[in-house]
């Protein structure tokens, strides 16, 4: 068990190293001079040379890579060209919006998908099942950012319940902040929930066929108790897997949703960096998001050990 976890952890570190190398190489080898891109066409040759030196572009590729990697490991992500502050600070500041947004979206999607998927499986071919199937099909097809626009149309413009965008900051009180994040989180959660509903339904249906559920019923448990105490916990591995796989899409969705709702999060930062051609910030945010996806999937892998004791043997993972 310990050896298994150590091996997984080494794998995680290697994957992180690989993804950082990939991002560095893509940025370094793409045609175009970052200094020229950042300064625009009107820059003088002197300013260009100065920025090239500041970015270390006059040094050989390998040295640049090692310096960049060394910096990243020490939490030094370089300086933002537009803001004139360290990127690490910028990212931490913006995380205060993106992390709660993502957490709320995941929570909402689980709260919607779990009851819906389980009920659909328990009462197969019933009305709830039909509704769940329709919701699953429709939800996957709807872009989260369009969902955001529709929610604004309904809840902000028609009903006036929520702000149409913007973020008051956590200093304005947690109620106001959560209130501002509610609609964007819901927009992110609905497409996620549709995928999860489908997976939950399938997983529970599979488990309901198992002998231990029949045994639970035979020893006198009610259908309901057998369902929630025995079937549902054993159906969680595919559900959690999907939650991990979906995280990539959640990140992508957050980039879009933050722009729809004008939220000062990481996705908005990446977008602003793009339009201001602040390549250092962009590279760091992309790296951060990629690392986050990898770490989340690592945690999902570990959670299997907790969810399903059968997987704790060495063999199951190799």
């Amino acid at each position: 068990m310990i050896i298994l976890m150590v091996r997984r952890f080494v794998g995680l570190l290697l994957t992180l190293l690989a993804v950082s190398t990939l991002i560095f190489l893509v940025m370094a080898l793409l045609p175009g001079d970052p200094a020229a891109i950042m300064l625009g066409t009107s820059a003088s040759a002197d300013t260009l040379a100065a920025l090239r030196q500041q970015l270390g572009l006059d040094q050989p590729l390998l040295l640049r890579y090692l310096q960049w990697l060394g910096g990243v490991l020490q939490g030094d992500l370089g300086q933002s060209h537009t803001y004139g502050v360290p990127v690490a600070g910028l990212i931490i500041e913006r995380l205060a919006v993106t992390l709660p947004l993502a957490a709320m979206a995941i929570l909402l999607s689980v709260l919607i998908a779990l009851p819906l998927g389980v009920t659909a499986a328990a009462k197969r071919n019933g009305l709830v099942d039909l509704a769940a199937t329709l919701f699953a099909q429709a939800g996957i097809a709807v872009p989260a950012f369009w969902m955001g626009l529709l929610l604004i149309l309904l809840f902000s413009m028609q009903l006036g319940w929520t702000p149409a965008g913007g973020f008051p900051g956590w200093r304005a009180g947690s109620f106001a902040a959560v209130h501002a994040l509610l609609l964007p989180a819901l927009a992110l959660a609905l497409p996620q929930a549709s995928v999860l509903t489908r997976v939950t339904r399938t997983a529970v249906l599979d488990v309901l066929d198992e002998d231990f559920v029949r045994a639970a019923r035979a020893k006198g448990l009610s259908r309901r108790a057998a369902l929630w105490r025995h079937a549902v916990p054993n159906a969680m591995v595919p559900v959690v897997t999907m939650l991990g796989l979906q995280f990539t899409f959640l990140v992508a969705g957050a980039v879009l949703i933050e722009n729809v709702f004008n939220l000062p999060g990481l996705g908005r930062l990446a977008y602003q960096a793009l339009s201001q051609r602040d390549i250092v910030v962009m590279q760091d945010v992309v790296l951060f998001f990629a690392a986050l996806v990898i770490v989340v999937n690592f945690l999902v892998d570990l959670s299997y050990l907790w969810l399903d004791p059968r997987l704790r043997s060495e063999k199951a993972f190799s």
Partner: protein
């Protein structure tokens, strides 16, 4: 009375349950493809023609689906956008599937280190959502058709690689592969002649599903200004521009999104329908 007893009605219901999704999906996609092709030769108005005095008119008042803030005809823009969306999605998926299947076949044929490296590589690429790779590409080579295609295709490669490796490894354990090896065929020839034909099913299912995902992603990219530059109409940019006029012209926000959703739905329904056909064990479960 009529001859439609319970038995026949049941049969009809069964047929609808079985074929309904596939038929609906095919109808939606044929419609989309038809509209996209027609837009190349005809749209009610030229899609980028501005008529300021007719700006922000609701549907049916000017044109069938109203006009935008420059008085451009929404229906014409949606039609031309269909072509742009569909062509980018087709290119991206063809590229991603082509590369992914070849890598997957090779990994399954030679196994060992190659397979390990391939699978780890898939994890790495899968960790960078297309929105972000498009931003990196966009910063250097600028937004446009190829930025969108490359970004989406890059993300599709690991998807197809994984599917191919999984399916191909199963085929490699079969007896007819052993027979082919006994006949002296090399891994390359076996992969092409025996493995590929036996895994075409799941790959085609995946192609349809990824086409939907590609349309969804393209809409997101052009929403952020990373897709086709103006004045080429695109569903994503129509949605981005609609935000300013949400209160006065909600149809500008509703219609392009509906076009995206129906296209994605169409591809997903086809994918599900095909999967049911190809793998009857999954029927009713997934």
């Amino acid at each position: 009375m009529s001859g439609a007893g319970p038995a026949t009605r049941g049969a009809a219901g069964f047929r609808l349950r079985r074929h309904g999704p596939l038929a609906t999906g095919l109808t939606l996609i044929l419609l989309l493809a038809g509209v996209a092709l027609v837009s190349l030769v005809w749209t009610p108005f030229p899609p980028s023609k501005m008529q300021i005095m007719h700006k922000l008119k609701p549907p049916f008042e000017v044109g069938l689906l109203g006009t935008d803030q420059y008085g451009r005809d929404v229906l014409s823009m949606l039609m031309a956008g269909a072509w742009n969306s569909l062509s980018i999605a087709l290119f991206a998926v063809a590229l991603g599937a082509g590369i992914g299947v070849v890598i997957g076949l090779a990994a399954a044929a030679w196994r060992g280190v190659l397979e390990t490296v391939t699978m780890r590589g898939c994890d790495v690429i899968f960790a960078v959502p297309p929105i972000l790779s498009a931003m990196m590409l966009g910063a250097f080579i600028g937004p446009g058709r190829w930025t969108a295609i490359f970004a989406i295709a890059t993300f599709m490669v690991p998807v197809f690689t994984r599917i191919t490796v999984g399916a191909a490894r199963q085929v490699w354990t079969r007896d007819f592969i052993l027979a082919a090896r006994a006949a002296g065929k090399g891994a390359l020839l076996i992969s092409w002649q025996h493995v590929l034909p036996n895994i075409v099913g799941p790959i085609i299912v995946q192609v349809t599903i990824q086409l939907g995902l590609a349309i969804l992603t393209e809409a997101g990219l052009s929403f952020l200004g990373l897709g086709l530059p103006p004045p080429a109409p695109s569903w994503g940019r129509m949605l981005a521009e609609s935000q300013t006029f949400l209160r006065v012209a909600p149809w500008l926000a509703i219609l392009p999104g509906l076009a995206v959703a129906l296209s994605v739905l169409g591809f997903n329904l086809i994918g599900d329908g095909l999967r049911d056909r190809l793998d009857p064990r999954q029927r009713g479960h997934a």
